[in-house]
């Protein structure tokens, strides 16, 4: 399994030898034996995360806007140069294939990230259009710098005005003399940036960021800490919180953006995009399922553990297994990921909930396993994100 362009640095730092597989690359699960410091760096200082395994495509040409407008659910015409949009894209039935960020780098130039390879799907949808696709996944390394100090760390490396880069903006800058593209995006729900750099320059960039970040508490951060942060931010993870249509074996495994709580990304005013008709129909009737936040009740959890003679225990890292959720009439859904939020001091989860079970404020129960017994703890349906600090946009 190959490492990313940063492997030389990340492997030297990864004391935990905790490697995960991401998009065909080795990615650090955590650097330290214990990932807590990495998590707190995201919320308290800055975490530096190697996100190079993301698939990255450059989409160019006179028809790039027309093509993308057909591909994704958001209105790409509204995306000005220098702006980024988070967007899912769907199959003809309105079921989500993947999601990522779409950055408009120039009039006819976009960069789209995805979790799964997407080249064939682009080609399938570009018939008759003057648009080209370049897979720059391996050529481009990506570093996420996430946390309240992220801006200061970048500012120290450039004369460009980092304050000028608004939430979901993108611009080209020199960082320590290295030409990069910086977007004010991330997967943590915090103040943060993603830096896109030529793979050959990835290591000098890492070194510059680490050097600059030393005064600001920068910590190389792995996927375990990132997973907790993204759950707090209420951000879905493909293949964990939803099954991409191309991997689904059953119709019932697929989800629409409306079902994933991404209705805000679907612009039905657009004349046409892949899946529009199906989504318009669903928008009228309302989705039968909904991905929602769940907050597990502490007192109830305490009672569940108490029944076994134990004090309440919370997961030390994020989990990614399907956990049944119950309502008055039996199982009404399933949670797909969850964690104890050390920041919020709450046990939170993301759950697919059926019909009225998904109404905000509804009282439900989530399964908890206590001493090999399957018990239930009370849980409430809540709004996501669980954590949404003003600095994210500020």
């Amino acid at each position: 399994m190959p490492g990313t362009p940063l492997h030389e640095r990340t492997s030297a730092l990864c004391r935990a030898s905790n490697w995960r597989r991401w998009g065909g690359f080795l990615a650090a699960g955590s650097y330290d034996l214990y990932h807590d410091r990495e998590y707190w760096a995201i919320r308290n200082a800055a975490g530096l995360i190697d996100v190079s395994p993301l698939y990255k495509y450059l989409i160019r040409g006179p028809d790039a806007v027309r093509f993308l407008d057909r591909l994704v659910t958001r209105n790409v015409r509204k995306c000005a140069v220098g702006r980024v949009m988070y967007t899912p894209w769907c199959d003809g039935d309105g079921k989500v294939i993947d999601d990522g960020t779409l950055a408009r780098l120039d009039e006819g130039v976009f960069r789209l990230t995805s979790a799964d390879p997407s080249l064939l799907w682009f080609h399938d949808n570009a018939a008759g259009m003057d648009v080209s696709f370049e897979d720059v996944s391996e050529r481009t390394a990506a570093l996420a710098l996430q946390g309240p100090n992220a801006r200061k760390i970048l500012q120290a490396l450039t004369s460009a005005d980092m304050d000028g880069l608004r939430f979901f903006g993108v611009m080209d800058v020199d960082l320590a003399g290295i030409p990069v593209s910086v977007s004010r995006t991330g997967y943590t729900g915090d103040l943060g940036y993603e830096v896109w750099v030529d793979a050959a320059q990835a290591i000098p960039l890492w070194d510059a960021l680490m050097e600059s970040g030393r005064s600001y508490g920068i910590v190389p951060t792995g996927l375990m800490a990132l997973d907790m942060a993204r759950i707090e931010a209420g951000l879905v993870l493909v293949t964990v919180d939803y099954v991409p249509t191309h991997q689904a074996l059953l119709e019932s495994q697929k989800s629409t953006p409306l079902e994933l709580g991404l209705a805000w990304t679907v612009d039905l005013d657009k004349e046409h995009f892949v899946g529009r008709d199906a989504l318009a129909r669903q928008a009228e009737t309302g989705p039968e399922w909904r991905l929602r936040g769940l907050e597990i009740d502490w007192v109830s959890l305490e009672q569940a553990y108490g029944s076994a003679g134990l004090p309440p225990m919370v997961p030390s890292s994020a989990w990614r297994t399907s956990v049944p959720v119950y309502g008055g009439r039996g199982q009404v859904g399933y949670a797909t990921s969850g964690c104890w939020s050390p920041l919020l001091k709450k046990y939170i989860a993301l759950a697919h909930l059926e019909g009225t079970a998904g109404v905000l404020g509804t009282s439900l129960e989530m399964e908890v396993t206590v001493e090999h017994q399957r018990l239930r703890a009370a849980a409430t349906v809540v709004e996501t994100p669980f954590f949404d600090p003003p600095r994210k946009r500020g």
């Binding site: 190959p2 065909g24 080249l119 064939l120 799907w121 897979d135 191309h246 074996l249």
Partner: protein, 529 residues
């Protein structure tokens, strides 16, 4: 009363299907005798030490289709069955490049991407599709084919469940299945991929054992047939039986013996004895007769109905059907004892690429040209080959440091111009070695011993009519309710108490056991069709 009266059933032929039928009948309390012409059981599923110290899976050489229910119900692991993984498929190319599909998804993706980024995406989606298709067809493997022209309650029930099953597939998958059933594997793959060696290697599984080329309609289905194999619930997993394929037959034989089955080796059956339209026993070569109220043939349909019984005991239209049943061999086998490993120019040295399949299938045209030779009665000068090195997977197959290599070779037509003889057999062997040497130049000097098996040898020594490895081609006109003949796909025959349990019955060939198991279950139900 003599010994013969003691048997409830006689199974003719101790191949893996015959043994399976015997084991299932014995499991239900029947007293069963298996008669095997050769000195060892297994039929085409045998391991033989042809050259001292080197064990060859003489004919069949990999396992995938073996029905999981047989493994479970006959407790084959307890009887010694171990299936080791064959993880990769390595296709060396004449231009010095290669294409390898590995067990690891990411590694395979990277490799295909090197040849074509679009194909890397398409490969995932194609795998997904074939998985759904295999899932769609899988229940058929374990069902007795219903007769679509019959109005019997049983047949109607079967058809109804089948209809419901296909309705549940969903529109898109149903239409895709229809295409798979009718198209050539080359055309089908052309719709998906652009990398020639990838398409060629994938379409090769559509021609194995058939007298068809990758551009012949119907081969897409054969390809699917090879996707349906499952090991531990994973489709399209191929494995190698520890000890060679003979170990599969041995494990079934061991289960059968434990259940009380008697197996007589070196005992050839001359004829099935029919009295008043019923099978009542068999006459052995040498004159001995053994009686039993049920007789089952594990031999291929043509040998069974055109040699073992008097045509006069069969309806003429049935005899015609069997005469028309296509059972023409197209493949040969070359087994090598090697002093050292082959060294491939495109991926030199020892490595994981040698531990899986090695496919000589550089392009679709290459395969089709190989077929062209065969169409006009010659063996392919540059044949398609599916090669494995069993000794790398199971070191017990060869002396330490030495190796055995199994080469499945296509095409070798049964009806060779001028006929097969020793000279032609060796010429065929030379063509195989010459072709392989183009990719692994050290091969010739590494060979200690070689065994060349032609379709004629398969017929003469293993009793496979026409040398067809599947007991008759796996083409649509002789599958499911048409295998081996219309109205007789339920393991029964026009002769009462006489049954067919070999690969010439549904669901067909390969080390599958499905025909043997389903035949036994039908026999246990009893009665006429």
């Amino acid at each position: 009363m003599g010994r013969e009266a003691a048997y409830d059933a006689i199974v003719i032929g101790g191949g893996h299907n015959g043994l399976t039928t015997a084991a299932y009948l014995a499991r239900a309390g029947r007293n069963v005798l298996v008669l095997e012409r050769r000195h060892l059981v297994g039929g085409s599923t045998v391991t033989e030490e042809v050259f001292p110290g080197f064990k060859f899976s003489v004919l069949s050489y990999v396992v995938s289709l073996l029905r999981p229910e047989i493994i479970r119900e006959l407790e084959l692991p307890r009887h010694g069955l171990e299936i080791l993984p064959l993880e990769s498929t390595f296709t060396p190319l004449p231009n010095g490049d290669q294409l390898t599909r590995w067990a690891d998804h990411d590694q395979t993706r990277r490799e295909i991407y090197r040849h074509s980024p679009l194909d890397a995406d398409a490969y995932d989606r194609f795998g997904q599709l074939m998985y759904r298709m295999a899932l769609a067809v899988k229940p058929i493997l374990s069902m007795v084919p219903p007769d679509p022209t019959s109005l019997s309650r049983k047949d109607l029930r079967g058809l109804l469940s089948l209809g419901k099953h296909f309705r549940d597939l969903g529109e898109a998958d149903f239409f895709m299945l229809y295409k798979l059933m009718t198209m050539s594997s080359a055309d089908f793959l052309d719709e998906w991929f652009e990398t020639d060696p990838l398409k060629a290697t994938m379409s090769a599984s559509g021609i194995i054992g058939t007298f068809l080329g990758p551009r012949s309609p119907g081969t897409a289905y054969v390809q699917l047939h090879h996707y349906m194999g499952e090991i531990d619930g994973a489709f399209r997993a191929w494995g190698f039986a520890r000890g060679g394929t003979g170990a599969v037959a041995d494990s079934i034989a061991s289960a059968a013996r434990e259940l009380g089955v008697t197996i007589r080796n070196d005992t050839a059956v001359e004829q099935v004895i029919v009295r008043g339209g019923r099978a009542v026993g068999v006459a052995l070569e040498g004159g001995e007769e053994v009686r039993a109220p049920t007789v089952i043939s594990g031999l291929d349909p043509r040998r069974t109905f055109l040699h073992l019984v008097d045509e006069g005991d069969l309806p003429p239209d049935f005899v015609q059907s069997i005469r028309r049943y296509r059972s023409v061999g197209s493949s040969g086998k070359v087994n090598l004892a090697l002093g050292e490993l082959p060294n491939f120019t495109s991926l030199p040295g020892d490595g994981d690429h040698l531990r899986g399949a090695i496919s000589i299938s550089p392009s679709q045209d290459y395969l089709e040209r190989a077929y062209d030779d065969a169409k006009y009665g010659e063996f392919s000068r540059h044949p398609y080959m599916d090669v494995i090195i069993p000794s790398l997977i199971d070191p017990g197959m060869a002396p330490p440091g030495k190796h055995v290599m199994s080469c499945f070779v296509q095409y070798a037509p049964y009806k060779l111009n001028g006929g097969w003889n020793d000279e032609r057999r060796e010429a065929f062997g030379d063509a195989v070695i010459d072709t392989l040497s183009e990719y692994a130049p050290n091969l010739k000097s590494a060979i200690i011993h070689r065994q060349v098996v032609t379709p004629q040898d398969m017929e003469d020594e293993f009793g496979l009519t026409g040398g067809n490895i599947f007991h008759g081609e796996l083409s649509l006109q002789q599958l499911f309710f048409l295998r081996p003949a219309p109205r007789w796909a339920n393991y029964r025959t026009p002769i009462r108490d006489f049954y067919l349990c070999g690969s010439g019955a549904h669901p067909g060939g390969g080390i599958c056991g499905g025909p043997g198991r389903l035949a036994a279950l039908e026999i246990l139900k009893g009665g006429a069709r």
